[in-house]
Symmetry: C2
Subunit: 190 residues, 2 copies
DNA sequence: ACAGGAACGCTAGCGGTGCTAGGATTGCTG
DNA sequence: CAGCAATCCTAGCACCGCTAGCGTTCCTGT
């Protein structure tokens, strides 16, 4: 009876180990370094074990992304609720978003640039992703004026995403990043 | 004497054929379908020939991206110069930018999301890329107010880039795209 | 306690990738 | 026309994601 429970628990732990290994390896050396062989070696099992937990490498990346959505939502919530004023909240949340992307570039990639086949319309991904989006929406609500809030939020989000991706890929020079962020916040706070 | 000229010309033509094949294949089936073997078959040469023209697959993608920069700059210039008013120019150029990205997604990827090792600080890439950027800058100049023009332009560009990438990766729903673009243009035109 | 069976994880391998070493063939040159 | 240099191809390397098939181990019912 309890043996089954133990096995399930061990299975869950191993699955978590796979996700953690993928995450750590991606953060340390980038997603190119995350191969199924290295992942298998990291968790001290053979390759095929990975496929008893996940459909494929993409699914593993998606699992890492899911964790990322939760982290990002938390970071945004913290920034928003600790802000002194609604306008300051916009700046703080924007800064938190950018900081998240810069500190965990590999995870940000998994969330927003790679792994297109994420279960976007099902499962628990929308939960944390929607939470993050809701944080953004609540943040800009006071400054949205008579714009449709969802559209306004999406556009603001796009601005942040564009800044993050263009800068990290070298299309924007690192200096001036704060000023660009300030311009974006300014345009969306009036 | 002229034989050498002919050979050089043939070589240049073959190089162009490689770029064209890569471009067409990427547009038709995505970059994953662009393998060195298929590319070699397409130009009816063996694989190693590719490496006598380009350092590797990345360099081929970079060459496609370079062509893309020129196309994009032309499209933006056309939109800007044919606009009725400065404010309309912002909307038209933004629409042209988004249209370019949507009609040639693979090329846009090569330009802005993949191929990080583009010769960004050397060679002729900056020429066309800078031309495109300059078009954007000229477009938003009348509405930039007392903002630093370069910073302002980069931020606007980021907004466009974010809209394009988030929508194509499924993070934004297709309907509402025009409204989001309108919001972006509005925020940067006041 | 023990036989039967199911679940499990391994080894080995498939087809594919980007890339390269080496030799054969071609074509120019003195 | 001999010799050389450039050119291009065959074959293969190391690696990738993924899977078939087989031993082993462990749980189960009698």
């Amino acid at each position: 009876m309890s043996t089954q429970g133990r096995r399930e628990r061990e299975r869950a732990e191993r699955e978590q180990a796979i996700i953690a290994a993928a995450r750590d390896l991606a953060l340390a050396e980038g997603w190119d370094a995350v191969t199924t062989r290295r992942l298998a070696a990291e968790i001290e099992y053979s390759q095929p074990v990975l496929y008893s937990h996940f459909k494929g490498k993409d699914a593993i990346m998606a699992a890492v992304a899911v964790e990322g959505f939760a982290e990002l939502a938390n970071a945004l919530a913290a920034a928003r609720t600790s802000a002194a004023s609604p306008r300051q909240a916009v700046a703080d949340v924007a800064a938190a978003y950018v900081a998240f992307a810069q500190q965990r570039p590999a995870i940000y990639d998994a969330m927003f640039t790679l792994a297109v086949d994420l279960p976007f319309a099902t499962q628990d991904v929308p939960t944390d992703l929607a939470r993050g989006f809701a944080e953004l929406a609540e943040t800009v609500r006071p400054v949205a004026g008579d714009n449709d809030l969802e559209t306004f939020t999406e556009t603001f989000w796009s601005g942040l995403h564009g800044l993050v991706t263009l800068m990290r890929s070298g299309r924007l020079r690192r200096p001036g990043h704060d000023r660009r962020l300030a311009v974006l916040v300014d345009r969306f706070s009036r």
